[in-house]
Subunit: 234 residues, 2 copies
DNA sequence: GAGCATTTGTCCGTATGTATT
DNA sequence: CAATACATACGGACAAATGCT
């Protein structure tokens, strides 16, 4: 076992006994403790970072990372908000944009829209322990919601809002994959364009086979959320 | 735009015009061409590697990578073999182990087995263009197959074999996630334990709600296969 | 099989850059 | 502004794997 791996193993057992958000000793402190060069110490921390065990922030330090398991199934997914809470984390959601605009062609097709008809597009960010975790773009068919910009600022689940308008939102279609987020998304997620990111797309209809209500495309950082897809009966 | 990004962009457009398996110029040749240090050239190639565009082999060189899109849905997945062929790649499958042994507790539960009853465990490797891509462990319930070790050496799909025994294999339950492969799996996949890897688990039953036939757990390298999970109707 | 050149992988020590506190 | 902490870069050296002779 190489010296880098030894340092990594030692740090890993140390992490196991600490809570998400805790700060690790600085790289210089670790150099002294292990009598190693900075290169080795950094390599060791990079191993932990690759496994999403720690998070590093320039100027601030290295911290124990929190990663959430998020279960997706055809029956629907619990809100990320609640999932985070249950894991002991602090979820926060922000609406950062709400505009009327024409949807891109592929999305308009999902929503059964005529070309040129404008729909409401929301952009929302979700944080876990004040760390950016996901960004969702949501296209809402015309006439489905009013004053969303007002009513949504503090609401974490669009499904709940839709239910409030006497609709019965059901997940009609979903696709999950990992991909490289486009530049604007990567910027919002404060991540590099070279890191694979979850992309979860969902078409919501009103009741089974009813009118298309909404198409959403969520990007989720792999280091903050672990998406698990499950279907069928045991 | 930094010098590293410029080199990466230049190489990327070069890659776009070449075929999977093609070799890139060596790092030294690129140093001369771009008048850059090895650090910068390597960083640039690492950017391409992170996006799965190239593959590097010590002592051999850097090559244009082939990555397969693999669609998984509740209705079932086409065989990886056929998916690779359709993309223009060369698929190959090897049975590397076939033993009678007791299944681990969690898997025995899936197969409705009593503790201690032995089942057949197969381990199979799949290659794309002679590059290791996936490793599957398959536990087959007692009495379902005979002489599998003989009959399976050249067969790429277990479902076809099961159909040959007058069964009706259906995908009853599945779970997909990315995870870090255990050490033995990482070794078989010739990958590091720090790279997230697809894990696809499936329970196969005989007809709808029938007897449990098989539980399989496949690990798929993210750089060779892009798993896309899709369910529902548009 | 042995030997050799090529190619990528890893590491070192040092210096400088940049974000945070 | 100063101190601290992580990020990036350089040039060089050696290791390890590959492929050819």
């Amino acid at each position: 076992m190489g010296p880098v791996q030894q340092i990594a193993d030692s740090l890993e057992s140390e992490i196991a006994g600490s809570a998400p958000g805790d700060r690790l000793p600085s790289e210089h402190a670790l150099m002294r403790r292990f009598g190693a060069t900075r290169t080795r110490v950094r390599r060791a921390i990079e191993l932990l970072e690759a496994r999403f065990l720690v998070r590093r922030a320039q100027g601030a330090g290295t911290f124990v990372n929190r990663r959430i398991d998020y279960l997706v199934s055809p029956e629907g997914a619990p809100s990320l908000h609640r999932t985070v809470e249950r894991a002991g984390g602090v979820p926060r959601t922000f609406l950062i944009d709400a505009v009327e605009r024409e949807a891109p062609a592929d999305i308009a097709e999902f929503l059964d829209l005529d070309a040129g008809s404008p729909c409401t597009r929301l952009v929302r960010l979700a944080y876990i322990d004040d760390q950016i975790a996901t960004c969702a773009e949501e296209w809402i068919a015309p006439g489905v919601l009013d004053n969303v910009d007002v009513s949504l600022r503090a609401i974490e689940s669009l499904a709940e809002v839709l239910r409030g308008t006497r609709r019965d939102p059901v997940r009609a279609w979903s696709r999950v994959a990992t991909d490289f987020a486009p530049a604007d998304m990567a910027a919002r997620l404060e991540t590099r364009e070279t890191t694979p990111t979850w992309c979860l797309e969902t078409l919501t209809r009103d009741g089974a086979g009813g009118a298309a209500l909404m198409f959403s495309r969520s990007w989720l950082r792999q280091d903050r959320v672990r998406v698990v897809i499950q279907f069928g009966e045991r």
